[in-house]
Symmetry: C2
Subunit: 575 residues, 2 copies
């Protein structure tokens, strides 16, 4: 029987609750947003006792469906002040799903200065005081817990989360004992505010989740996997080059943020391209194509090794590569990979932090291109929480405020990732309107603007069709985020007519339902409106659905400007 | 003939313009807010080229009316994101008024890295490159300009303004060659963003402003001065103890913020009281009663000297004394006076900075009560702009964000001054609803809540009548801020029936008008609504008219909580 685990850190008590009817059919983002919207006062302090941290596996997590193991984390974000859902791969979603835990809700704040670990198993949750691992980086936590507890699922925060840095993330143990991250929005600070260093998830004794119609599920799951493998994006591009394939695509489109969003092309793009990344990894004996969760058939991740073949990092994404590589002008994959490793270990969002570094460079804190300076900043300042480290760790918006920088690429105080919205206007609409602050994953219009996904190309430099595109994608993305599916399922979903019906069939076969594809549209719309209502009650208006003023300046070399009016952007919400 | 001086820092050109009809009858805050609302895009970056910095003398400035020499500065605030008016005493308003300058509007931003000084005289404005004074503190600037130019009026920014710190202020030379400040809202950062180090105001060749009816003016001015001197507040309390008279009054009421707003009474209140301040100054041969502008009859300022009789600071206000003394628990007037001097010299708002220090203490940056640590922080970090200095200099809200503190006393990101709104609820309504962010001077309900000003006392601990009180005071305060009158004129205005008619008579006699007292009410209402409309267009909603969540916790020893609902607060705007 599905249940909800609730942990009250004020009273240090745990309970197991039945799933209320309105939440019974939900999972992932649809569920975390429903819970946060119902139980968290929108105007509360995000690091105070009234915020709650909610984890929910996707509706298909725990099944044999490929790429279905993403875990959603939700709360009020201390970075943006909005509602937040951030999802990650790794192993935790599948364990929670097999335990029958629809959601783990953590509320309250303990009185004293102690730290705690949560132990989740089929009996419920146990809160245990923790001392040994406090102050430790994420890799050390995962390693120590493996020794202590065996290969359980782990959610953990690093020093950044302990220090409640606004860009702190929550990391998830992956299948290799490394990690993946709930990166955006500072959810690691929320976990730190509740004084929880880690959550160990013990799936001992559980089996695969039950299926209402096993034969139907197997058939649909096969069709689904085939659709992913047949698509050129998920079957060829991503497995070959990882997300770093975007470096040359976005550079060619003139939308590659360079020198803190001053230019749209980077002269050293080849040094950081997906092609170079792949060659480097192969040459050194790393792994160029690697999955973040069991059952992944895309394998857009990789294992990056140094010149001696020693492990440096995995899950080195386009966004991190681009923002450090071109935007901070450090055209050096070794430095970028090392920085990625450090950010993972410290437990800080690599997108927010990298954009913050670009703003800091613009503010004169260190020179553009100073890769060793960035590594020193991460090692010495971020990890220790020096005033400079806390400044960077509080995100790009705050760095801009502290250093009087006017070119600050944020929406709702969350950093704009590695696509300049002047040259790829569809993603600009997503940045502006997303309920989460600037977030490319909320509605990845780049695929349609630049890669022809979804059939008819929407011209990246023109306004026509962008609002409708972003709206369609944001609604559809809620489906993926709620099912526990990886974002890239959006590619075959858009292009292969067998894909969405197979997803619907899997869900129906899992739960014995008779849902239609239209049901997902409704779920997307409901969830977006729920999230927006939370934000409005927290004080957000349409004036916050705007890009920063500097995007009105022309972007070299195309000369493109961000030319949407407020009224045009606000059409997004006409549904 | 009255005129407007306009300076464009992008083109480095200056012009003299006639006063448009809608602005002809305005001055001070009514005029700066009208200009900012008309000319500044509400969503612009406050440190970008689209913001404008506007100075306007009060409508009575330049006359012989006592206490009429306050200058208003207006802009979009980089600290709050709202419209901002901040006024100061000193000598500048009177020079500008005698020059016939209704407003000085500074717009644009220069291309390069150069710094400039503006020279204002009867011919207009000249922009001159400046190198010698860059990096210098405010006292050195004023001294150097006296040598260079003689005793002109001076507006200047210190290192904080040059570094565009969000709490940077603009200082005004006072009659003793010391300074007063446009303290709140970071207008010094706006001046710094325009790369203007100082503005020298040369009144050479000007005489007193013309009067339409000299005899009537003289008679009214006499009545006005008499009303001020007859009132126990402005005639006795303030001249004797300065604003520090409030220490014991507010402590007795249990609303004296202590240990970052944790308690409402301070055990060492006598160490920092107005009585102790006065005794200390007299004992050491300082001046316990001193005016900030020529023609001041209240003289609530003082000259604080050290044990050897050497000048330390003047204009040492209750708010600074209280926030450093009780809220940061540094019960030592010598340390507080030295800190005040340093903040004046660095050019940073002593309220915002002192509250930020309290939050930093709560965040573990330095211990409560560490006076020497505070002085070191100001001398070494603030002045040099180290990362820690920039953190403190960016205000209490940002310190809270960087150090994960939940007890952060700000409204619209501006620090709440030295009155706890739980125990003095009227001032809480002003904090919540002021168009400027938390600001006690926007509607000083403390006087009615605790001192009986305005007749019938409104119980500080009850909700009854507080919304109406704050509304009445905020409307009336616009009058004072627009006339160039000191805030304390509010005391005789409320209690002496001869005072407001005398003000109206002075204004009518100055300009040949036939205004009524009701006209001022209309001006107050129009100005508040103009300011609010700007804020709404910048994205502010009623959800921003709220006090921080922690004020729902009981305040020791009274146990008072902030218990206004949102709907009750929103009644403020029903006019």
């Amino acid at each position: 029987m599905d249940k909800i685990y609730r942990v009250n850190m004020s009273s240090l008590q745990c309970s197991v609750e039945p799933v209320p009817t309105p939440w019974a059919g939900l999972g992932g983002r649809a569920l975390t947003s429903a819970i946060v919207a119902k139980e968290v006062p929108p105007t509360c302090h995000a690091l105070g006792e009234n915020n709650k941290l909610v984890f929910a596996p996707g509706m298909l997590s725990g099944t044999t469906a490929v790429n279905s193991g993403r875990l959603s984390a939700g709360a009020k974000s201390p970075l943006t002040g909005t509602i937040k859902e951030s999802n990650a791969g790794g192993t935790a979603a599948q364990v929670l799903a097999r335990l029958g835990v629809k959601a783990l809700i953590i509320e309250g704040i303990p009185k004293g200065d102690g730290w705690y670990g949560l132990h989740v198993n089929s009996d419920g949750v146990t809160i245990v005081e923790e001392t040994e691992l406090i102050g430790k980086g994420n890799f050390a936590v995962i390693e120590a817990l493996e020794k202590r507890l065996g290969k359980t699922g782990v959610l953990t925060i690093g020093p950044a989360g302990e220090m409640k840095m606004l860009a702190a993330n929550i990391s998830v143990r992956d299948i290799d004992g490394k990690l993946r991250s709930h990166g955006r929005g500072g959810l690691g600070a929320v976990m730190g505010s509740k004084r929880i260093k880690f959550i160990a998830l013990d799936g001992e004794g559980t089996t695969a989740v039950s299926l209402a119609d096993s034969a139907k599920f197997t058939q649909a799951a096969r069709t689904f996997a085939q659709a992913i493998m047949n698509h050129p994006g998920t079957g060829q591009g991503l497995p070959t080059y990882g997300t770093a394939e975007m470096v040359n695509i976005v550079n060619a489109a003139g939308g590659l943020p360079t020198r803190n969003f001053l230019h749209g092309q980077y002269h050293d793009n080849e040094k950081i391209s997906g092609e170079t990344l792949r060659e480097t990894i192969i040459e050194r004996g790393g792994n160029p194509s690697h999955g973040c969760q069991s059952g992944c058939v895309i394998k857009c991740s990789q294992v990056f090794v140094d010149k001696k073949g020693k492990y440096v990092t995995s899950g080195l994404e386009y966004e991190t590569i681009e923002i450090l590589g071109a935007n901070a002008m450090i055209g050096d994959l070794d430095v970028i990979a090392e920085a990625d490793h450090l950010m993972d270990d410290i437990g800080i969002d690599s997108i927010e932090t990298s954009v913050a570094i670009g703003v800091a460079m613009d503010g004169g804190v260190l020179p553009f291109g100073d890769g060793q300076g960035v590594l020193r900043l991460l090692r010495e300042d971020l990890r220790a929480g020096t005033p400079l480290g806390r400044t960077i760790g509080s995100g790009a918006g705050n760095v801009g405020k502290l250093y009087g920088v006017t070119r600050v690429p944020v929406v709702k105080n969350q950093a704009i990732p590695a696509y300049d919205p002047r040259a790829i206007k569809g993603i600009g609409i997503t940045y502006a309107t997303s309920t989460m602050g600037a977030d490319h994953t909320a509605g990845y219009a780049v695929a349609t603007n630049l890669m022809g996904v979804g059939g008819g190309v929407v011209d990246p430099l023109k306004k026509d069709g962008q609002v409708e595109l972003s709206r369609h994608l944001q609604i559809a993305t809620v489906m993926l985020d709620s099912l526990g599916l990886c974002l890239f399922i959006g590619f075959p979903s858009a292009d292969d007519p067998t894909c969405v019906p197979a997803i619907v069939d899997m869900l129906n076969a899992r739960f014995g339902l008779e849902l239609t594809p239209e049901w997902f549209g409704g779920l997307g719309i409901t969830t977006l409106k729920t999230e927006r209502a939370f934000n409005q009650a927290a004080g957000f208006t349409s004036e916050h659905d705007r890009l920063p003023e500097f995007f009105r300046e022309p972007l070299a070399p195309s000369g493109a400007v961000w030319d949407f009016t407020g009224d045009e952007i606000d059409q997004f919400w006409n549904f």
